[in-house]
């Protein structure tokens, strides 16, 4: 997928958000919509201009970086990523999806089991799945880290723990 298409998808999603926001805001009273409405409308106008510009001009022209212009650097990390070969881009996309999947998995575990148990399972699982540690070593490091966090948050900050939605299914 080209950089332009990706940029257009992001801009289209943002466009939907701005339009929805404006529609919802119109349902509020005059005081409640006094600031959100003009701000969202301005944002929408800027976004539409951006959308038009990014489709009419060379993508490189759209990136004006003050730092780059000061230092005279041409190829920033972002620009370099734009020029990646297709196989590297698809590999990057896969890694992005995996990273987001890891985050989602971790949050899912927290919702189901509570934060402390999830930290143990996630960190151990991550070490093993990335083949950084063997299962035994991953368990030791994961347990040690979970204990540190337990001391810091539960004992130190006296955090009232959440035990997850699965707790209600466990007989007392």
């Amino acid at each position: 997928m080209s950089q332009r298409i990706q940029e257009n998808i992001v801009a289209s999603v943002l466009l939907c958000i701005f339009v929805s926001y404006i529609v919802i805001t119109l349902g509020f009273g005059p005081n409640a919509q006094l600031v959100p409405l003009p701000i969202a409308s301005l944002g929408l106008i800027f976004l539409v201009i951006q959308l038009i510009r990014q489709n009419l001009r060379d993508p490189k022209e759209l990136q004006i970086d003050l730092l780059s212009s000061l230092t005279g650097q041409i190829a920033s990390e972002h620009e370099a990523s734009e020029q990646m070969p297709t196989n590297k881009t698809s590999d990057k996309f896969q890694r992005e999806l995996t990273a987001i999947a890891f985050v989602t998995l971790f949050v899912g575990l927290i919702v189901l089991l509570g934060p402390i148990v999830s930290v143990l399972i996630f960190s151990t699982g991550f070490f093993v799945s990335t083949r950084h540690f063997t299962l035994g070593k991953a368990l030791v490091v994961g347990t040690g880290f979970t204990l540190i966090l337990y001391v810091l948050f539960v004992i130190g900050l006296q955090l009232q723990l959440y035990h997850g939605v699965l707790q209600s299914f466990i007989p007392q």
């Binding site: 943002l14 409640a32 730092l67 890694r95 985050v103």
Partner: protein, 499 residues
Amino acid sequence: MFEAILAGLAALSTPQAILFMIIGVCYGLMIGILPGLGGIVAIALLLPFTYGHELAATLALLLGAHIATIWGGSVTSILFNVPGAAKSLALVFDGHPMTQQGHASRALGASATAALLGGLMGAIFLAFSIPIVRPLMLALGPSEYLMMALWGLTIIATFSEGSLLKGFVATSLGIMIAYVGMDPVSGTPRFWFGNVYLLDGISFPVAMIGLFAVAEMIKLYVKGGAIVDRVPGEEKSSVLDGVRDALQHWWLILRSSLLGLWIGVLPGVGASVGGIAAYAQAAQMSKTPERFGKGAVEGVIAPDATLGANEGGGLMPTLAFGIPGGESMAILLVAFLSMGIVPGPQMLTSELDLVFSMVWIIVIANLLTTLIGLAISSRLAKLPTLNPNVMIPLVLSVCFLGAFATRGLVEDVLVAALFGVIGYLLDKYRYSRANFVIGMVLADMIERNLHISMGLYGNLFVLTRPITLAMLIFIIFTTALPLIRQLRRQKTMSTGNVI
């Protein structure tokens, strides 16, 4: 004022405050040395720990960590040729050549001394500017504060990284997110979709954890491999040589510090620009500019003095007007608000001792950073070689537990994760995260002051208040100027291409 100076110092002399300061500085050094995890991530991760402690101690933890991250970033630039944060970029130009030539310790010594002296100048500026700014602050009304908030938004968007339009879009998005929840003026629930959790609004600390810390971990995973895999070579000079270098270049430190102060006071012109500008002025004013880029110690001293002084300068508009000087100041502002510190004229009157506590924290944290940093820099320098496969689960765990700890709500973990993905996408497609955050922070100030101004001076208050009108014209001018310049530049470039 003298009582406030003493009271500010006394508040920091408790065992908790001293301990928090030391923890903050050590933690800040560690985070600062990890590339990509600068002061913003450091403060975002500390936010859950800011509740239920002495106010001065919490400030010592936050500001101490923030100040230490600045020098931590310089260490990575000098030793590994990888900027710890965007603001440390200028340190790479001469710092790393010094390391390659076997003068890493000398570069670190010069860098730490310059940062210390710059930081002390920043603290002195903050202290001395209070009597000057106070009468000005008290003369301003809500309509002028509204204009200042608007100016802060526009100037920040204009100076943002990436496209100007994207900067404005990100700012608008940030403001829009801040209006989720109960409207404090009309009592109308906004954008809550029947969900009680959303009635309380999006927690700023949780959003910060997601936008910066979680997003950085996603970035790190996508990038793959160790952050840094280089090792420093053998040493030909000592830390003391560097300290001596910095003291010999006192005039350069003074110039660079003044530049840092000025850049700190201006909203939106972040320390990233400051470091580069300091390097440029050092090279331009040097008698031997040809040495720059090849390991000139002045190329290390100038950016570090500017970065050190930048903090004192940045705190002034943040505390006095509630307008953050940059993204790190915006997160500090979030932390201040969550601790019950409300920026405004009262900061320079009834809360003056708190401001002086911050002045003392800048002084002490700079001293501690220099002492601790020089003593343990060689050990800390090994941290960037940490494998992301170890770092990602550890940092993500702290992020999500931290998000949960802010209010004890599991929904906050979901929000942190969601903002993590949003932060990653914003960064990838160059919709400035800094603008997004600053929009979130200034949204309430804009709405509150607009309603008060309309109530006090009528709907046409902009026309009836001359200072407000002058400020509005100034805002339009400062917003339009960079756009006009950009259009002119593009026109010139296209004409050049045709020729």
